[in-house]
Symmetry: C2
Subunit: 425 residues, 2 copies
């Protein structure tokens, strides 16, 4: 890492901060025009992005990247069209900036309340998916925040092409071009520089694997929103509707196994397991799911189920599989399920399937997670599913924002006080 590279990053931060001050006061109309321009160019100016992406892809392939990762890296015209559609939905969302909260008139006649304001500059450090560049830039723009983005080395060319497209689009709408900054130097040590830039970055959002998130959380000098790691349980209670349970477990595990709100562990009540577990297992096994079973679930399923059913090890509890693998454990009570979730959960999404009202209420009250479910799939933990329109990530911390982070979660507020000469007694 050269001093030049560090200085350049610092200058980008400074420019982002200056742009943020202007962006904070831009009208919704101008911000939406910028978003519409981005969407338009994602449809009409694809060639540069696609050819940059093809170069990234070939380089990654030659470097021996595994197929699942290669798949995440690849962009095609349909995906760019989906990205354009997503940007248009962000444009269609209400502008959080300027929203007035808790406005009231105090007994002394002072009119007080809070007004939403942007945070300033959002930094993001993320891994290979290039769509994150567009996602975060669009959410930051709409919420009046500048952004400083640092994507993965493998998608550098794709990200750069996308960032150029975005910068051109916003400049044409009258948004300061420096409101979207991309770190074009892939040197890893610049990540550490970025973590120290607290005078230029107001909030840092890491997106990627557990290692990256932990590193950022431990080393960043500015506030960080951590999340994205989900060790998610579904507890099938004694009184569960077993058909519903099989549907929910199947959906939570199979519908998209590579994401953070996918199921990792099935807990099943010992009184429901003999009747319920075989049906749940059958559907999962048919979809190619490998089951890591404790000894009681193993003995219920019996030896006939084949090579995809293996004994669980201690490491299976609390593991985020991100693949067609599920751990299975029989428990004797709601308390044991709650205890297991408390010990091994990551505070992301946890579900109970039950017909027992008191068990449902206890689960909702006692599980300490960003999203707690009764009789539904954990796959719903998502900004657009929850009606926030879009999300910049899913927070598993309690501070500032928890769960899906939409536009409002990218804002702060200030108190405004309108008086007519009031003084304090």
């Amino acid at each position: 890492m050269t001093t030049t590279a560090v200085n350049q990053l610092m200058e980008q931060g400074q420019a982002a901060q200056a742009a943020a001050r202007k962006l904070a006061r831009l009208s919704t109309r101008i911000k939406n025009q910028a978003l519409q321009n981005i969407a338009k160019y994602l449809e009409t100016e694809q060639s540069q992005v696609l050819s940059a992406n093809a170069q990234d892809y070939r380089a990654a392939q030659a470097g021996g990247m595994e197929p699942a990762m290669l798949d995440r890296l690849l962009l095609n015209p349909e995906q760019l069209a989906v990205m354009a559609k997503d940007v248009r939905s962000i444009a269609a969302l209400p502008d959080p900036v300027g929203e007035a909260l808790e406005m009231t008139t105090l007994p002394n006649g002072l009119r007080t309340g809070k007004v939403r304001v942007p945070l300033g500059v959002i930094g993001s450090i993320y891994e290979s998916r290039p769509n994150v560049t567009v996602d975060i830039a669009a959410l930051c723009l709409k919420s009046g925040n500048a952004c400083l983005l640092r994507g993965g080395k493998e998608s550098l060319r794709s990200n750069l092409a996308l960032a150029q497209l975005i910068r051109r689009a916003i400049a044409e709408a009258g948004v300061p071009v420096d409101a979207v900054q991309f770190v074009d130097n892939p040197d890893r040590s610049l990540v550490e520089t970025m973590l120290g830039m607290k005078e230029y970055i107001n909030l840092l959002i890491p997106r990627g694997g557990a290692g990256l998130i932990k590193f950022v959380a431990e080393n960043a000098a500015m506030p960080v929103v951590t999340g994205g790691v989900g060790v998610c349980h579904t507890f099938v209670d004694r009184t569960a509707d077993l058909n519903m349970a099989a549907n929910i477990v199947f959906n939570a595990k199979v519908q998209r196994p590579t994401v953070c709100n996918a199921l990792d562990t099935v807990l099943i009540h010992s009184q429901a397991a003999p009747e319920g577990l075989p049906g749940i297992a059958e559907r999962l096994l048919k979809a190619g799911v490998e089951l890591h079973c404790d000894h009681r679930s193993l003995s219920i399923l019996g030896p006939k189920v084949g090579p995809k059913v293996v004994p669980a090890t201690e490491e299976d509890w609390g593991k985020e599989f991100l693949a067609l693998i599920a751990a299975v454990k029989v428990v004797d009570s709601l308390d044991e399920a709650l205890q297991h979730i408390d010990t091994y959960g990551s505070g992301h999404s946890e579900a109970i399937v039950t017909e027992d009202y008191s068990a449902a209420m206890r689960f909702l009250n006692e599980v300490d997670a960003a999203a707690v479910y009764v009789n539904a799939s954990t796959r719903f933990t998502d900004g657009s599913q929850f009606g926030l329109g879009a999300e910049v990530g899913i927070s598993t911390q309690k501070f500032h924002a928890r769960g899906p982070m939409g536009l409002r979660e990218l804002t702060s507020y200030k108190w405004i006080v309108m008086g007519s000469g009031q003084v304090r007694e």
Copy 2:
């Protein structure tokens, strides 16, 4: 610092964390009973607290503590009665825990929403005023958080006596006694231990001078809410009602000069200064305020005003005086005032006195501070004045909470989702 002392502190943290889990689910009734018991003992069991405080006072006096600090340290029966009254007002406030936010039914029939939950364990490191011990413990209790308190060395005996009284009071109400923990070892190096205890402390609130707050913010491993430092300006605009301006400036400076929302600098428009400044200065000078004036205000006030009017130095701008001193500067425009505030303000409380609607709106929009005022004294930036009932401090950061932090600002939330078998398409 001994290993024993560190271990003891760790054990306190662990015990606080365990108590927090129980406290989070206690009913409002039990929490309020605990608060009522504290209030009662503050009235009926004063002797131990007062004799401990007398010992602290004598030791501090012998150690050469300056009178203003000694004054802050001293407790008397009336102050304990005021503390009891404050605790009763906290008991009377609505319980934030369990409050449901944004509950809705999604098109797929899922009922979703957020429910407020406590943050867990609040740590606080503060300087000499012993009433902070009661304040923070009461606010934490009501918001379902345990607390780990570390007060100043000078008030150790007073704080210990108060902590004992609180622990006895809450235990009698059925609240786990370890929900309120006080660090009884005055060794300064334990502060650093505390800053690293992120597995036991969910939020750290430093209260005290700028040095303490900066040290905590820079070294804490857990989230911190910083604040308490207020460099507050009042800008008297060209069109200000000069009588109102004099009242507001007088109140902001004189009503309680030692607090963070007190005025530090008067900015006055050059077109208002010749007529307005002499009257403002006269009232301040009569109250014993020393004026540090730029050369233009100095020449308007003239040489006759006496030794309390001195030329300002560069250090006067951006200084929190916490005393009967005000800096005074003549500016030529709203823009110059905004620029000055932007450069020297601390993002706490800023006011404009004006009859010009557009100037008022620009000031509200453009000043980046926790509280922005038109035609009122900055002294109103306070949890109880703003209708929050009480405050644990005033945040000057944008993350999580800004401005006065009441009970709600000591909470997080979780998403709850109640389904009837929904799965994601």
